[in-house]
């Protein structure tokens, strides 16, 4: 199975391990990620305003490129996934945005939201199946107590993202079980890490990351995993200083792709 793949800017530098291990693990699980040629930044944030078009265009380009390759589009970074998935929904369902975006881009064939956008985790759950991931595990992470950190962008708004139950998600916990570790449920796993505010308002975001980590370690978490470079950055800055990894790093370790992480 081949997928078009949108890595996003951060995965090319600071979050290269999120990207690299995802690619390296894929063949073992029976699929392949084909990076889109000439992709551009997704835009970073999804503009909520209904009259915003320009800031959505680069996502539309990626979506249209995947369409021309005739493949589903896979993402990894939570922010990219959020933006691309929501823009795709707009292109499918909001006539004004569809019209104005197509007017800007003047593609050979107007884009109408045809591409199916999947997060890497959704591929693991819905296409590969966590049962099959488990079968491929060579080094189960036995006894490790891992807290899943979802953050905001994968889950909300649930109507469009349709990723998991926004208040009681299970996908990352199922992933943790699949690689042989023990998931820890803690209530802040879907609360905000502080987001982009950490650039200018460190105190505010620090407070939030602290709450997340305090709650996680209170329930016995030994390490956190996430799919978002910004969440990882913010969580690493918190007081409790729990180790934080990308989920692909642990996947690679369990599958025997990476020697150590």
């Amino acid at each position: 199975m081949k997928y078009s793949y949108f890595p996003g800017c951060t995965l090319k530098n600071k979050a290269s391990s999120l990207d690299r291990y995802a690619r390296e693990c894929a063949p073992l699980l029976g699929f392949e990620l084909c990076e889109l040629p000439e992709w551009q930044c997704c835009g970073g944030v999804y503009p909520l305003g209904r009259d915003e078009t320009a800031t959505k265009l680069s996502s539309v380009r990626a979506l249209a490129a995947a369409r021309s390759e005739g493949r589903d589009l896979v993402t990894l970074c939570s922010a990219c996934h959020h933006v691309i998935k929501r823009v795709n929904d707009d292109m499918k369902n909001v006539e004004e945005i569809r019209t104005s975006a197509n007017n800007y881009l003047a593609l050979d064939e107007p884009y109408r939201g045809e591409t199916n956008v999947l997060h890497y985790l959704e591929v693991l759950r819905d296409v590969v199946g966590f049962e099959n991931v488990k079968k491929q595990v060579k080094n189960p992470l036995k006894g490790k107590k891992i807290g899943a950190y979802y953050g905001c962008l994968l889950l909300r708004p649930s109507g469009v993202m349709a990723f998991d139950d926004p208040e009681d998600p299970t996908i990352l916990e199922d992933f943790i079980r699949a690689i042989g570790a023990e998931p820890v449920i803690y209530p802040y796993r879907n609360e905000c890490c502080g987001g982009y505010v950490s650039l200018k308002d460190r105190e505010l975001s620090r407070g939030m990351a602290d709450k997340v980590e305090a709650s996680a370690s209170g329930f016995g978490t030994e390490m956190l995993i996430t799919a978002c470079p910004l969440c990882l950055y913010n969580l690493k800055k918190s007081k409790a200083a729990l180790p934080v990894y990308y989920f692909t790093e642990l996947l690679a370790e369990a599958l025997g792709v990476a020697k150590d992480s």
């Binding site: 208040e167 009681d168 449920i185 209530p187 802040y188 609360e191 709650s215």
Partner: protein, 662 residues
């Protein structure tokens, strides 16, 4: 040619403020067939009706058009008036110029123009009306009540007291319903079981009442006065006549893993069980999914210990067919599933419970023996938070748009009872509005605040965060004081929205009774006919019609009973004369009409047909007027145009179309 009179109603200012009634009268005078037209303040008043009756006699009218409110409102009134004046009631038609004209349009010119068109359509129709005569149908003097909660019990008792036979069908093993699960009732705080169980016993003992528990309605056919109903009596596996209710079987049953439905899953029960101690009938059922005998073939303990020899593993479902004159739906409610509301941690923490679960916990016969304790560790909670409107008053996809009505009061009750019994427990209630309309209701709520110092906070809770130490951090808003509130609670109680019992939807389809977008059964008129369904002979009792508390439910149950009694007291009912009829000359006996008739009202007979150039014996369709309900499906299915419907004939409807498109 008809001699038609047109009567235009002002309805005070309801019509006259937007429709120029004088102009409608003037235009009416120009219509073919119209010999008389006038307007009046209130046509439905006695004086207004007198005007119609007088004109019929004086002008020798053969047809009448009343331009007024909806025919659903006053068609019957005016037809009765016409009949009183010697005119066949079906020679009168209504032009709806209120609901469908004056109330929805603002501009006088537009509204008047439309009113004139509607009047013309009605006149065109009346020109083609023919006198119709109702037939008669019999009334089976027995009523069926579906649902054995307080609503069904009260309705059945009231009907039985008037001397009519009543059957109650209840899907669970005992009557009693939700009220049996409650501990105390507001606003008097009397014990629910103490006031309900005597009624249950009375119903069971009443010579006019039969109770079918563990049974469901399977099929309904027929119509008002003459319904035929199939009732499935599920296999109880216990002989109801032999069982003495000693309870030994339940005690000795080795399978005790099933969750007790009555205790909302908070405790376990045996596979052979009665839902609660005061069950009526006090005869257990075997839950075959959990019974070892049924699962493995080995066991049979209950049969061995039963002193009466009442256990019967071979028992099968039984279908009984019975006739009824009237049917009352009393299917009640359940609480919504909270699966989608996990910001309140209901799935994650056993100490987050629903109000109905709290009822069971507070009840002396409940899973904790009436001790208020946390289900996680059995410790008494010191800080309790109540959250109101969980799933009620929602405009999103998760919840219900309506107010569940009972939550404000039962929460005040819970808060008060807890503060009374455990004075060192802190109780906080997050509310959006406190709604207490009802006798002694607001006083009750104020008592909770003033006497019992329950902490009411206006605002919702955003999230309940379970803590490592087992407490629950409640993060809420106090929008009056303008702050975010954090409370470390030991227990959180959710006032989950109530919804109609899921069986109501299926039942509505069987009864051809209408249902609203929320799944509540629709009443014939929201104000004037609140306990009747729009389908004749079907009545509504209790929460199946909309959220209500016990006093309201009991009143409505009594009202439904009175309507049933009124119906059953008649020996004959007049049938709707607007039935189908085939023109023998045109009918070729093809069976297309019979194939679409939902009532089996069409049969075929060989008849001698005489027409111009025709005289032969031929197979033609014959409609049974007593069975035909007048839907008209056959009239369209008929390829030769032989089938027509009295009251809504092809010519009449075509005339209306022509009058509108002129």
């Amino acid at each position: 040619m008809q001699r038609i009179g047109v009567f235009v109603c002002h309805c005070g200012s309801n019509i006259a403020a937007t429709v120029d009634v004088k102009r409608v009268v003037e235009c009416a005078r120009l219509e073919p067939g119209v010999v008389f037209a006038e307007d009046y303040q209130y046509m439905c008043s006695e004086a207004g009706q007198m005007k119609i009756a007088d004109a019929i006699k004086r002008e020798g009218l053969t047809g009448v058009v009343v331009c007024s409110c909806s025919p659903r409102m006053h068609e019957a009134t005016f037809r009765k008036c016409a009949e009183g004046a010697g005119l066949n009631p079906y020679m009168l038609e209504i032009a709806n110029i209120r609901e469908q004209c004056s109330w929805i349009h603002k501009d006088m010119e537009t509204a008047t123009e439309k009113a004139v068109v509607l009047m013309r359509a009605a006149v065109a129709k009346v020109n083609l009306n023919v006198p119709l005569k109702s037939g008669e149908s019999r009334v089976t003097k027995r009523a069926l009540v579906i649902g054995g909660g307080i609503a069904g019990i009260q309705t059945a008792l009231d009907i039985a007291e008037a001397g009519y036979e009543v059957d109650i069908v209840e899907k669970t093993p005992s009557i009693g319903g939700r009220m049996a699960q409650l501990d105390k009732t507001f606003p008097t705080l009397d014990c629910s079981a103490c006031i309900l169980t005597p009624k249950m016993v009375e119903a069971a003992a009443h010579e006019k009442i039969r109770i079918f528990t563990y049974s469901e309605v399977e099929k309904v056919t027929g119509f008002v006065g003459d319904f035929t109903v199939d009732i499935r009596k599920k296999a109880r596996s216990v002989d109801i006549d032999k069982c003495t209710g000693c309870g030994v079987c339940q005690e000795k049953c080795p399978s005790k893993t099933a969750k007790s439905e009555f205790n909302r899953g908070l405790s376990k029960r045996s596979a052979i069980y009665t839902p609660f101690a005061q069950a009526v009938p006090n005869v257990p059922v075997i839950d075959r999914e959990h019974c070892i005998k049924f699962k493995t073939g080995k066991c049979g303990v209950c049969s061995k210990v039963c002193p009466a020899g009442a256990i019967d593993y071979e028992m099968r479902d039984e279908i009984i067919t019975e006739k009824y004159g009237a049917i009352v739906a009393a299917t009640g409610f359940d609480m919504i599933s909270l699966d989608k509301y996990d910001e309140y941690a209901y799935k994650k923490s056993p100490d987050v419970i629903t109000s109905l679960e709290l009822e069971r916990i507070m009840n002396a016969a409940g899973p904790t023996g009436g001790h208020l304790e946390r289900l996680s560790d059995g410790k008494p909670p010191k800080n309790i938070v109540f959250i109101q409107c969980v799933g009620s008053r929602c405009a999103d996809k998760r919840g219900k748009s309506y107010c569940s009505k009972i939550c404000c009061m039962y929460t005040a009750k819970h808060a008060m009872l807890i503060r009374d019994k455990y004075p060192d427990t802190n109780v906080t209630v997050f509310y959006i509005d406190v709604r207490t309309p009802g006798k002694n209701f607001d006083e009750f709520y104020r008592r909770a605040v003033e006497e019992y110092h329950v902490n009411y906070i206006k605002g919702q809770v955003g999230k309940v965060l379970p803590q490592p130490d087992g407490t629950l951090l409640v993060q809420g808003a106090d929008i009056i004081d303008g702050r975010q509130v954090l409370i470390n609670a030991d227990m959180v109680v959710l006032a989950a929205a109530i919804e109609p019992d899921p069986t109501a939807r299926k039942l509505a389809t069987m009864l051809t009774a209408s249902i609203d977008t929320n799944g509540f059964l629709t009443e014939a008129h929201p104000k004037l006919r609140p306990v009747e369904s729009p389908t004749a002979g079907i009545f509504l009792s209790g929460v199946c019609q909309g959220p209500k508390d016990i006093p309201e439910t009991v009143s409505q149950a009594g009202a439904a009973a009175v309507k049933v009694i009124g119906l059953l007291s008649k020996d004959k009912l007049l049938t709707n004369p607007c039935t189908a009829k085939a023109d023998e000359l045109m009918c070729n006996g093809c069976s297309a009409c019979a194939n679409v008739c939902p009532y089996g009202a069409i049969s075929y007979e060989d008849r001698e047909v005489r027409g111009i150039g025709v005289r032969e014996v031929r197979r033609v369709a014959v409609v049974n007027g007593a069975l035909c309900q007048g839907c008209g499906a056959c009239t369209v299915a008929c390829p030769s145009g032989a089938m027509d419907l009295f009251g809504f004939s092809n010519r009449q409807i075509t005339a209306e179309v022509d009058a509108i498109c002129r």
